[in-house]
Symmetry: C2
Subunit: 157 residues, 2 copies
């Protein structure tokens, strides 16, 4: 469903070779519309009959993260996961029920970072905001047993 092009462009832009396995992983990511773990992709690949080894999946994921077309996030449970995304700086809201995620662009976090820098004396050079909740679709579907990927105790406000 998603487009593979952004991934290919990123590889090209970074001067990396456009290989079969990389196309395959890009495809697997594009097929998903929520977060996923490296293990998920390994399973998907095996299922789709794609010829991609586990190690390669980890390597491609790392590469894509470096190219910013994939972001490594953390679920409320503390587990690691990834989401495909546009390469500009941004953050995500991820649904605790179905895993769907959506990008959210800077809404004043930069100002907060500045404020923190001023009040603590730190030279703040990076930040990450993770937001969790229930997506519109799940809110509608409500009680019905919608697919859940990982739910655990939620942290935060």
């Amino acid at each position: 469903m998603g487009d593979i092009q952004p991934f290919l462009d990123a590889l090209d832009r970074g001067g990396y070779r456009l290989t079969g396995p990389r196309r395959a992983v890009a495809g697997l990511i594009a097929e998903r519309n929520g977060h996923f773990s490296a293990a998920d992709l390994v399973t998907d690949a095996r299922h789709d009959g794609a010829e991609v080894g586990r190690a390669t999946i980890f390597r491609v994921l790392e590469l894509f993260a470096e190219l910013r077309v994939v972001e490594r996030i953390d679920l409320p449970s503390g587990a690691h996961a990834y989401v495909g995304c546009a390469p500009e700086h941004h953050h995500h809201v991820v649904c605790s029920r179905c895993g769907r995620s959506q990008e959210v662009h800077d809404l004043g976090i930069g100002a907060i970072a500045d404020e923190v820098a001023r009040s603590t004396g730190f030279h703040v050079d990076g930040h990450r905001l993770e937001l969790w909740g229930i997506c519109p679709t799940c809110l509608l579907a409500d009680g019905s047993g919608a697919p859940v990927r990982s739910s655990s105790r939620l942290r935060g406000s």
Copy 2:
């Protein structure tokens, strides 16, 4: 140097038993003034001759996290780490050089979360802001290597 009391209070408040190993782990955490990994504590314990098994350290850490006197954070490298802290909701700025961390209280993030909720339709029920940078001490010490006690691996970037 840190105080053990807050940890003991938390245990009491939660109705958990005040055991030797728990005191020991609280002590190890209090001795640190930056983030640490579970493995760090295992090492510290062995070094200090404290009688605490690895499994227990993980269990106590999980318990403290649940009691909110410890927070599980993620380093820029993606590695998991913990920091001891006050039980109210807050966030941390962590120094990429020495690992020292400082709490920062809500500076308008709640408003941002509301804004995100309104614009995406998500029912936002949790968030976490992680800020990374260089702490005042390291800024002064600058290039010279005079950091605090180093925590496991602090892979750069």
